[in-house]
Amino acid sequence: MIELLHLTKSYGATVVVADVCLAVEAGELLVLLGESGSGKTTALKMINRLIEPTSGSVRLDGEDVRVIPAYQLRRRIGYVFQRIGLFPHMTVAENIAITPSLLGWDSQRTWTRVDELLATVELDASAVKDRFPSELSGGQQQRVGVARALAAEPQVLLLDEPFGALDPLTRDKLQQSVVRIRSAQRLTAIFVTHDMVEALMLADRIAVMRAGRLVQIGTPHELLTAPADDYVAQLMGTPRRQAEVVDRLLARDGA
């Protein structure tokens, strides 16, 4: 369980995240939804302390994240980066093995885990293991990025717009992989995106942020049926409008 309590971040006079309170239940996937500049990525990074809050706090299973050193905290939390962030001088296998080796796993256990994870993210272990990241496609690279985040068997997974830069088909496949992985592993996850369709497909609940504030939090159904304000209503309206366009096109072709 992850709790954000009055979480606030400001740079000088600019408030980026303003008094955000929310809780993510164990095993739940929460989507943090908002446009760029809404503070969603900043809020996410304060959970594993890539950014330190100005005020407020984050609790993980009831424990304040500031009680242990940041690097130890981060080894317990999987993180998938927007810009993938694979280390170009390490092979795919070495990239995935980083956190386990930082934790001092023995090599037998580490390499077994690497093979297992490559299968989980649907990559052919023997083909990619000893390659360097630059030799893989963008989609394959982010599959490795997901594998790296899961390597040390974390209970919590944070994903920062992980598929934003991928083409639609690749994105779709990776989204399905995420659905499959979390149902198999019962991970508690926070997924940051600005893509409504992605949010609706993946989320147990959606938290909508705007200008640093939490506007509404609820299941997709709640947000669609009872939007808190015009902004949320408009936001929820976009996939419906897109679907209507597709429907019209289909009807015309059928006629």
Binding site: L50, Y71, Y79, F81, G85, P88, I98, L102, A152
Partner: protein, 505 residues
Amino acid sequence: MRAQLALLPLYLTAHLQLTLCALLVGVAISVPLGVLATRIRRFEAPVMAIANITQTIPALALLAVMVPLLAAIGLKSIGFLPAFIGLVLYSMLPILRNTISGLDSLDDSLLEAARGVGMTAAQQLRLVELPLAMPIIVAGVRTAAVWTVGMATLSTPVGAPSLGNYIFSGLQTRNFSAVLLGCVAASALALLLDGLVRTLERAIRERRRNGVVGILLIFAALYVYTGITLARGWSAESTNRVVVGAKSFTEQYILSAILARQIEAETGVATELVSSLGSTVAFDALRTNQIEVYVEYSGTIWATIMKRDTRGAEREQVLREVASYLDQTMGVELVAKLGFENAYALAMRNADGDRLGVRRISDVVSFAPRLAMGGDYEFFARAEWEQVREVYGLEFRELRSMDPALMYQAAGNGTVDVIGAFSTDGRIKAYDLRVLEDDRHAIPPYDAIILAGAQLRTAQPQVIAALRQLAGRISAEEMRRMNQQVDQEGADPDTVARDFIGRVQ
């Protein structure tokens, strides 16, 4: 040429020792310093400023200044150490600069990823930042390697043998094949190191681990060779051998060889030559027992060390006072005077002398404002020149410092009109110059004298006795002839010295 080639393994090894040791220590200091500057930003400006300033000091001066600095703190100021420290300082800038720019060039997203997967600051540096910056850092090492090889040729004047010995002694003795050999060997070494480091750089960039390991093994082998030869050299140093010094001109190369051959022939004690030392470097080296014996000139001690008035100094009185001064103030013994004088003297072309009617220095005073005067590097800074100028009221149109090897030629072909020459130099005759009479006795006498260090006096009296046998054995005529054999006829100083010892025994 064969005699020169026989020295190549010695000089090349010494050059390699200096270069590789300086690079190793240069990297060991500069990379951590560069890392520190990127962690604590307020260190960056001062660190880079110091490295930049060091780089602007002329290389020769940087090495030369190490000698008095090391002497002042009581360390061995002649030989390997001053050259090594100078080279380390010189190698630092490119490595430091590239370490900082290499670390600064890293993508922020990778640094965030390193933190995100749970690395500590130290792990991030070791596992991510340094490996990714490595190609740029190694490129800096490559620049430093090429610079260091080139600059190591300048370690000769501070008493560290190197390929520069070919260049310095070749220039002085007009042995241009030796100069060429030194240049070619230094260039070849620079190209070799450049090629090795470039291959390393490329292997790192292309992530070919076998390539990296291969090049590192080659370097490891070079360092093992350096280590073994250095250790062997240092253990030999502690054995019983007499270190003979020489300043950087032909006569000194010949005389140091004569002293060495005489010691070996009479006592069987081994000797070691340290050649091409700067003038005061040689004296300081003797005073601190880093060389044990060399040939000096009485007037130089009188004017430069004792700072006495050079006007009207009388020959025997100068010798007596120099001997007792050296003995009483620093325990140095004036062993013997060799029998000739090599004085500073003003010289000009015979043709000009005839045309202007100049025989004495007094005669040249009225023409001086239209004439150019040349001197070796130290001449215009010496007390003797100050005295000559004052006593005669000399004011030349311009004063030009130049290498002594080129000075006589410059006088011969009219580039300068008057030079500060050495009276025993064979080239006075060769270029048809005349020595002007010092009619007002502004220049002191310059008897060639053998000086022995305090340590040698007490430890090896038989060596002193052997050297004493050379007293009065070399006339000015003989010295001029031997100089000419080397300068004009291309003979090797050591061969000339052996011939001389053969003749007098």
